[in-house]
């Protein structure tokens, strides 16, 4: 099976700071890849490059048959965003819109779906994250965990082929992370292709097919979830040790 995402020798700097230093990896359809590492190791940047929020300095990214090079034209980005969903650490729900309106916005405006159809679809994805009764609430009326689940639903409503998760539980109180992780785990079970940046080691070990440990802008270690129990490099051992 050919990969749905392929990063080839991707590099990226912010000014003098080299954040990504020639990283390459593949993601196969239906698999879950977890990017882990210290803050500043480049994992979030890698994720943001994958859907064009950052442009890369060299290398190539192929994702859902779109090719991102060192320059990206606008039309390509829009097509890309139809196939790739993204969930952010800070939820980024639109505060002036209800939960339902947040979810229906892109299907209505971008996919030009009919209102009834968009509504039905919104209800469906909202039920999937267990928040159907919050359709008419505003984001500020929800807890952080609920807001993040709505953000996942908003992304799902566009029926993406791939979903990217950028530290989606980092801003949440510990007792609220569980509900979000459960939603992600069920998505993974249903066969969604997912790339996630996370600090939740137990979750990564249990759910990810591949774990990539990034260190100083490079892929330092890569393997199945079980790798976290038997690190082969001192850096990962130290990182995992700190995490426990």
């Amino acid at each position: 099976m050919s990969p749905i995402i392929k990063l080839s020798n991707v590099s990226k700097s912010f000014g003098a700071l080299q954040v990504l230093d020639g990283i390459s990896f593949d993601v196969h359809p239906g698999s879950v890849v977890a990017l882990i590492g210290r803050s500043g190791s480049g994992k979030s940047t890698a994720l943001r490059c994958m859907n064009g929020l950052e442009t890369i300095d060299s290398g190539e990214i192929d994702i859902c048959s779109h090719r991102l090079g060192t320059t990206v034209e606008k039309g390509l980005l829009r097509a890309l965003h139809l196939d790739v969903g993204m969930v952010f650490q800070s939820y980024n729900l639109f505060p002036h819109l209800t939960v339902g309106q947040n979810i229906m916005l892109a299907p209505r405006w971008v996919k030009k779906s009919a209102k009834g159809e968009a509504r039905e679809r919104a209800m469906e994805v909202l039920s999937r994250v267990g928040l159907a009764e919050k359709f008419d609430s505003y984001p500020e009326q929800l807890s952080g965990g609920q807001q993040q689940r709505v953000a996942i639903a908003r992304s799902l409503a566009m029926q993406p082929k791939v979903m990217l998760f950028d530290e989606v539980t980092s801003a949440l109180d510990p007792e609220l992370t569980g509900e979000v992780l459960r939603v992600m785990e069920s998505l993974a079970r249903e066969g969604m292709t997912m790339v996630l940046v996370t600090h939740e080691m137990a979750f990564a070990r249990r759910v990810a097919d591949t774990v990539i440990f990034m260190h100083k802008g490079r892929i330092h270690e890569k393997g199945p979830g079980a790798m976290l129990e038997a690190p082969s490099t001192p850096e990962l051992a130290q990182f995992v040790g700190n995490g426990l």
């Binding site: 859907n51 929020l53 639109f94 908003r154």
Partner: protein, 227 residues
Amino acid sequence: MAYQFDFSFLSEYWPELLRGLWLTLKMSVLTIVLGFLVGTVLAIGRTAHSAWVRRACGVYVEVIRNTPLLIQMFLIYFGLASLGLKLGANFCAILSIVINISAYTCEIMRAGIESIRKGQLEAAQCLGLSRLQTLAAVVLPPATERVYPALTSQFILIMLTTSVVSQISAEELTSIAARIDSITFRSFEIYLVVALLYILLAVAVRGTFWLIARLVFPRLRRLGTPL
């Protein structure tokens, strides 16, 4: 002090005052709507990618905000006339007020637009919204809601500002007052009455804006909390 106040002129001239009030109101609504639209476009211009667009909008705002409306009005009214363009006093008045107010609205709206966090734009982008769609659905509505109190104060100022039009035209409230004054010589009384009318108008405008906010910001209507 034996001055005898005499408001008897009111019985004869109140229809004229009402007509003046009506024109002031119409002028205010027109300049508020147009000023808001032009000001918002300018605010978008001030946050544009192109440095030239940003700079041009910036110069416009600075020049307008640092010169008196009266001079701007004279320049447009007498200036256009000297070029052979007879556009009518009311038209020139509205044009100069719109130009003036758009510069202020621009700065208020810019503050609103800049208050929108970058994550909101990224989320919109990741959902596939175009730049224009993002602006219309994600940026402008909450930006407007956030600066709405400042906009309201500014719009009441515009309503009061229309009195300056009396210096070139002769139909709105202040001009009518001047005319009645020149006939009746009850200067103090007439301006007292007009002052009262402006206060009532200001209260009415404030109330109207409160209502409009409840209509156009459903979140505010339901929750009542600031955004």
